[in-house]
């Protein structure tokens, strides 16, 4: 929960998570609706339940569902908007150069986390860093991860 809260603060989100409904399976964090309560009866075989919020490693790694939920939030959330071409490079694991950003919301200063948006959809997020005297958004997570996971397993 501490890592999740730290991540939410990092992107400037005011989202609150109902701790009563939190569930942990290995390093994955879920929230589980009441309708599912009766169906969780065998912990050692359980691999997934409810809404995946993300994974705890050294840092909290949010799921695309949580990222999209954050992106829909009103308020001073850190976001950068990009076009399809820049967005696709980001989804392929590349960083975003400041000059490729169409619009910024919230903070864009070194160390902050920011969501990457294309046409209202969240493609992932990154951390603002300096690179050769310029500011870039260093890719931390992007939705291309779904393809990389499949390739890694096959």
């Amino acid at each position: 929960m501490r890592l999740l809260k730290k991540f939410l603060e990092g992107v400037g989100s005011s989202l609150t998570v109902d701790e009563e409904r939190l569930l942990r399976i290995n390093n994955k964090r879920f929230t589980v609706g009441e309708e599912l309560d009766n169906f969780i009866f065998r912990w050692d075989n359980l691999v997934y339940a409810g809404k995946l919020l993300g994974k705890d490693r050294k840092l909290f790694h949010p799921s695309p569902t949580l990222l999209q939920e954050l992106a829909s939030e009103q308020g001073p959330l850190n976001k950068v908007h990009v076009n399809r071409e820049t967005g696709w490079l980001f989804v392929c694991g590349r960083d975003v150069f400041e000059e490729s950003i169409l619009k910024k919301e919230g903070k864009f200063e070194e160390g902050v986390l920011s969501l990457v948006m294309f046409d209202g959809s969240c493609l992932g997020y990154g951390r603002v860093e300096s690179f050769q005297g310029k500011r870039i958004l260093k890719n931390v997570f992007d939705i291309g991860d779904f393809l990389r996971r499949e390739r890694w397993r096959t």
């Binding site: 309708e35 075989n45 997934y48 409810g50 799921s63 989804v91 959809s121 779904f146 397993r153």
Partner: protein, 293 residues
């Protein structure tokens, strides 16, 4: 073995060549996207789609300038690549918001996310599969598609103690022999011994499914096999051994066979549905729905 199988299909009334190929199709994921909005977006990108009239969310892909398995829209979970026949069982079963549904052989989870979409993420889908490596794909699918009403177990379904829990609907998409339309080496790999072995295993799963169904609940039994031993003959076995009635399935395919290689089956078996590749233009598929009495 090609000639053996093609001869069997000929005896069942279908002159197949063994070279049929299915059309490609996608399913709009209504948990994340509205059809009209997504179609406009895909058409702008040069994708050519045609509505499949017997599916709520299914579209035939007639052309695309890029791989539809690697687009923003796919990665964001707005659609799934799912063959038309394989979309039909969930469509016919018709799960509703609030239902308790068991998906017994759930991996890789395309139909699991379809169940959740029909249920609008309300109620519960319990997805079970014995193969851990295939469950990773299911987890990815649920995550990408924004499914929130699903619990997934890695287990043989017989080893799970469901206690008093019984389900409104069960999807039993059994492991089967498959069909040559979706597997170019199918005729080389398959034999009639395989078919018999699979049919026996499927009967075990049918027995388990009936036990976990509420009275009045609906069991959807489905295979992507054209072999009657895995289809109508197993349904006949179900009727002979359990207090169930078959529900009439309406759709684009043929009625289930009521005579198989000279063996006469109950007329009720005809209430099931077969997708023959030469009739429907999809892969081979079979669906039967049984209501527990």
């Amino acid at each position: 073995m090609k000639s053996v199988f093609l001869d069997r299909y000929r005896q069942l009334g279908h002159e197949l060549t063994g070279d049929e190929t299915p059309s490609k199709s996608l399913r709009v994921n209504t948990l994340k996207a509205e059809s009209e909005w997504l179609l406009e977006r895909l058409i702008e990108l040069g994708v050519s789609l045609r509505k499949i009239d017997y599916l709520r969310d299914g579209y035939a892909i007639e052309g695309s300038p890029f791989s539809l398995g690697a687009s923003f829209e796919y990665l964001l979970g707005y659609y799934n690549l799912q063959e038309a026949a394989s979309q039909f069982p969930v469509e016919a079963l018709g799960p509703k918001p609030g239902d308790a549904v068991l998906d017994m052989c759930a991996a890789p989870g395309i139909k699991t996310s379809q169940l959740a979409a029909h249920m609008e993420n309300k109620g519960a889908v319990v997805a079970v599969d014995v193969d851990r490596s295939r469950l990773y794909a299911l987890e990815n699918s649920l995550e990408r598609c924004g499914v929130e009403n699903c619990v997934v177990y890695h287990s043989d379904v017989n080893e799970l103690d469901f206690g008093e829990i019984r389900f409104d609907k069960i999807l039993l998409d059994v492991p089967c022999s498959g069909n040559y339309i979706i597997d170019g080496d199918w005729f080389i790999k398959r034999s009639l011994v395989d078919v018999e072995r699979n049919a026996e295993r499927q009967r075990g799963l049918l027995e388990t499914a009936v036990g976990l169904l509420k009275v009045g609940g609906v069991l959807s039994y489905t295979t992507c096999s054209l072999e009657p031993e895995e289809d109508e003959l197993n349904v006949q076995w179900l009727l002979d051994n359990f207090d169930v009635e078959l529900r009439e399935i309406k759709g684009p395919g043929s009625r289930g066979l009521t005579e198989v290689f000279g063996e006469k089956l109950d007329d009720d078996v005809g209430r099931s549905m077969r997708f023959w590749p030469d009739e429907v233009g999809t892969q081979g598929f079979f669906v039967a729905e049984a209501v527990k009495q």
